[in-house]
Symmetry: C2
Subunit: 242 residues, 2 copies
């Protein structure tokens, strides 16, 4: 083990954090500040000298892109005869916010994320804190270790142990049922409403909004009412982290 | 120069294509079949033994993701104090289909793409043939040469000579004006129509559709009518490659 690693793990003031990272990641981070940033929620943003605020949101932007690219390649190679529509849909099933939140929970992010408990409810279904931090972590690994390293981290330590791609492939998520069941469990009222406008013109397009306890959560437009409801439900599931 | 390169450039049956690729890319491709596939439009798809069809669409899926990731990093590093909202918006300005089509045109893709002229009109504004092939080319380079190579190709040979990021940053695209001007130039009639449904409920949400020569092109929903029109215009510009 290099002297720098020994220092980081046993002597530095960050040694507690570094050990946790080593256990989580399977390697000792190079640039520790990046990993600390990945777990800093915007409610705990640090004010920089130039007046801008620093939290994990920029790393999340980067990590989201790197993750999308790695998953694209994994699927491209895993399904050599499937078309791009299939690949796009399967990727979006894998990186759904609800899945990434669940992943963050399994990886123990609850105890790692630095957030303001007075303003943020980490247990709330509305919160995407865990999934956001997961993406930010991918951004941090990428900046610290490069693309190929990040790709093997994602395939070996995330996909293989935690994501069952073939099951996801076969799962046709019925977002409308999912949303209705969730509302029942949460004792919330759900309604699908056509969106109406002043003019009475009837057209070929249907617009629908989803209301949960009377609050408009999402809307969608399609040539069939059924599809508009399906699309609006999918958006609502995303918003509510169902 | 290696023997393999000499063969590819001067002796192989593909030498004409290989020379064009060398001029376009600045390097001699390794796996030539990948680059040929990148320029194969779906109208010329090859039927594989297993019954699936092969064109540049799968490479486009992969290249789109790799391009998104490279641009994310470029912007992340170029604007260290900007938030993720700024970065997301600027990236989407850079990779807009109309921009990628224009890039493909500048790079001379017109003469490279293998498409069925009987069914596809490459000059049509509806066609995203050029931009799609550009993304597919990025996918091919990635599979052939890896991420770091692709990243320097994009930054050195695409961004530096062809994309003025700072100008794009300052350009607030007014999609509604853009769409209206385009329709005037093309002598097409444009109309924004509220989307109405059977029920007469009035809600807080506005849904608007854009009609060009009476045909519904795109729609959007927002809490303000102005914003709904703006969003619908943006979608219509994307669909029409304006």
């Amino acid at each position: 083990m290099s002297l720098s690693k020994i220092y980081k793990l046993h002597l530095s003031p960050d040694r507690g954090f570094v050990k946790r990272m080593r256990n989580l990641l399977g390697f000792v981070p190079g640039n520790i500040a990046l990993y600390k940033m990945a777990f800093r929620h915007k409610s705990m943003a640090v004010l920089l000298k130039n007046g801008s605020k620093s939290s994990n949101e920029r790393l999340e932007f980067l990590g989201d892109a790197v993750l999308g690219s790695v998953i694209a390649e994994v699927l491209f190679k895993l399904y050599p005869y499937k078309n791009e529509g299939f690949l796009t849909e399967l990727r979006s099933k894998i990186v759904r916010r609800a899945n990434l939140n669940q992943l963050g929970r399994k990886l123990g992010f609850n105890e790692l994320i630095d957030f303001d408990a007075k303003t943020v409810n980490v247990g709330s279904h509305q919160s995407s804190l865990l999934g956001d931090a997961f993406e930010a972590l991918i951004g941090a690994i990428y900046l610290d270790k490069g693309y190929d390293f990040t790709k093997s981290y994602i395939t070996e330590r995330i996909i293989k142990p935690h994501i069952d791609i073939h099951t996801l492939e076969l799962t046709e998520v019925n977002f409308k049922s999912k949303l209705i069941e969730w509302c029942q469990r949460q004792a919330k009222e759900i309604a699908f409403e056509p969106i109406a406008n002043a003019d009475g013109d009837s057209t070929k397009l249907f617009s629908v909004q989803v209301l949960v306890d009377g609050e408009a959560i999402a809307s969608a437009t399609d040539y069939s009412k059924k599809n508009a409801e399906k699309l609006a439900s999918e958006k609502a599931c995303e918003v509510l982290n169902v």
